[in-house]
């Protein structure tokens, strides 16, 4: 079986339908375990006190915000090159999730920032880049909303996402150049393998990341299925109208 057959709408509906309950189950289970673990059963940091518990939502949300945009980028690219409708609609489905994740990351960061840095908001490179990312999400969603024909909308938004990715990346480096900030470096350097976070904090954090990731997958699947159904409904409606016009 060819890999791309998974992107056939009918095939997609069938396998995603089977996968969906499992995705939801594992997502909610791991999220619940991770957050309860993080909230109730982890020690306080000697320096940050109990605010360290915010890490279990702040970091995964921030990660998923960036991953959502990455996924939209790949999906847009696939639509641009191979024109699979599932891909375009998956990108559309992911955008609001990414926006909510961005907002969660900003909001929890602000709450965390107040006791630690003494301010809710600082014009720090990471905070600012997230704000800019948030604007890119909003623009992308707004363009989808504004266009009526779904194929043209998919075309234009995919171009916007591709070009936007370049500029989002550029903004990130420009912002770093502009202001060195308060924010600590990355807490989970995957590449180097060394951690600045202790194992006591890291285990629930890793589980929370898994939970956010699974939740993202479950949400994208659900929302993509919705979009596909709506697309099919539009096609049926159009056919009905045509039949009515012919019979008159």
């Amino acid at each position: 079986m060819n890999f791309w057959q998974f992107a056939n709408p009918t095939v997609f509906m069938s396998w995603s339908g089977k996968l969906l309950p499992w995705a939801w189950l594992t997502a909610l289970a791991s999220l619940a375990v991770a957050l309860v673990w993080g909230f109730f059963f982890t020690p306080d940091d000697f320096r940050m006190g109990s605010t360290v518990k915010i890490i279990y939502i702040h970091v995964p949300a921030a990660m998923m915000a960036i991953n959502a945009w990455l996924m939209m980028f790949v999906a847009s690219l696939i639509w641009f090159i191979r024109r699979h409708h599932v891909s375009a609609l998956a990108a559309k489905a992911a955008a609001p999730i990414g926006l909510v994740m961005t907002l969660i990351a900003i909001a929890t960061g602000a709450i965390w920032g107040k006791p630690m840095w003494g301010t809710y908001w600082a014009w720090d490179p990471r905070l600012t880049s997230f704000l800019i990312l948030c604007f890119f999400f909003v623009g992308y969603i707004a363009l989808w909303e504004a266009l009526e024909s779904s194929d043209v909308a998919a075309d234009l938004t995919s171009v916007l996402c591709l070009v936007g990715s370049v500029f989002a990346l550029l903004s990130r480096y420009a912002v770093q150049f502009w202001n060195q900030g308060l924010h600590q470096g990355t807490s989970v350097p995957v590449a180097t393998g060394e951690r600045t976070v202790d194992d006591v904090f890291f285990a629930p954090l890793a589980l929370a990341m898994l939970g956010f990731g699974l939740l993202f997958i479950a949400l994208v699947l659900t929302r993509t299925r919705t979009e596909l159904r709506l697309r099919r409904a539009r096609a049926l409606e159009a056919r009905q109208r045509m039949r009515l016009e012919q019979s008159v």
């Binding site: 800019i132 604007f135 890119f136 909003v138 623009g139 707004a142 363009l143 504004a146 266009l147 043209v152 075309d155 234009l156 171009v159 916007l160 591709l162 070009v163 936007g164 500029f167 989002a168 550029l170 903004s171 480096y173 420009a174 912002v175 150049f177 502009w178």
Partner: protein, 218 residues
């Protein structure tokens, strides 16, 4: 190609003094700032580069909907799209015409406004240079945005929302270029980055814009 360029220039100049309106808008924006923040000289000098850059940004983007709208209304855009001239060239010419008719006048009056905000004489050169280097990127990005909203019913606000985030890098390097001169560090990096962003945008954005037009007109 040349003919199209001249036609666009003439249209822009002829259409209700669009050039003047942008300049006046830009000037009013800048002039309003002292009334908003107070006329204390130290404050004004410090915020002047940013104020002028943001005002230039808004003035540039406000005139974007002119780029394609009139051609789309009278159908000449479709004719142009079928002509042997590649769409990439068309969008490049449109961006160039937009730059000459809106950005160049802004660059010309910017030093006057800068001086009014109390910027020292030595910083006016860098101000002009940074605008000159940075605004081509704005025109190229703006043409892309204008192409996107061409297929939307009421695109005015949407256009700004789509295009403004793209301008962050240009704005950041534009203002840091001036402040680095003002602080005497004399760093060249922001100028080089501005030039790089402009070259990249002018070189690559026409492809994006024409892809959008091609999709939309199909």
């Amino acid at each position: 190609m040349k003919a199209l360029f001249w036609r666009d220039l003439k249209l822009a100049v002829a259409s209700g003094g669009g050039v003047w309106l942008t300049c006046v808008f830009f000037a009013i924006l800048v002039v309003m700032i002292p009334f908003g923040v107070g006329s204390e000289r130290g404050v004004l000098v410090r915020i002047a580069p940013g104020v002028i850059w943001v005002a230039a940004l808004l003035a540039t983007f406000l005139s974007l909907d002119r780029i394609f709208a009139s051609d789309a209304e009278d159908g000449s855009l479709e004719v142009l799209a079928q002509s042997p001239l590649p769409l990439e060239a068309l969008t490049l010419i449109k961006a160039l015409a937009h730059w000459i008719t809106t950005c160049v006048p802004l660059v010309v009056i910017a030093p006057i406004l800068g001086a009014m905000l109390g910027m020292p004489f030595v910083s006016l050169g860098p101000l002009v240079l940074s605008l000159l280097l940075g605004t081509p990127a704005l025109s190229a990005i703006g043409t892309f945005g204008a192409a996107l909203v061409l297929f939307v019913a009421r695109g005015g606000m949407l256009l700004s929302i789509l295009v403004l985030p793209f301008a962050f890098p240009t704005l950041i390097f534009g203002t840091t270029a001036i402040t680095s001169v003002l602080s005497g560090s004399g760093e060249m990096t922001p100028f080089l980055m501005l030039a790089g962003i402009s070259l990249g945008s002018v070189g690559l954005m026409p492809f994006a814009s024409s892809a959008v037009l091609r999709f939309g007109l199909r």
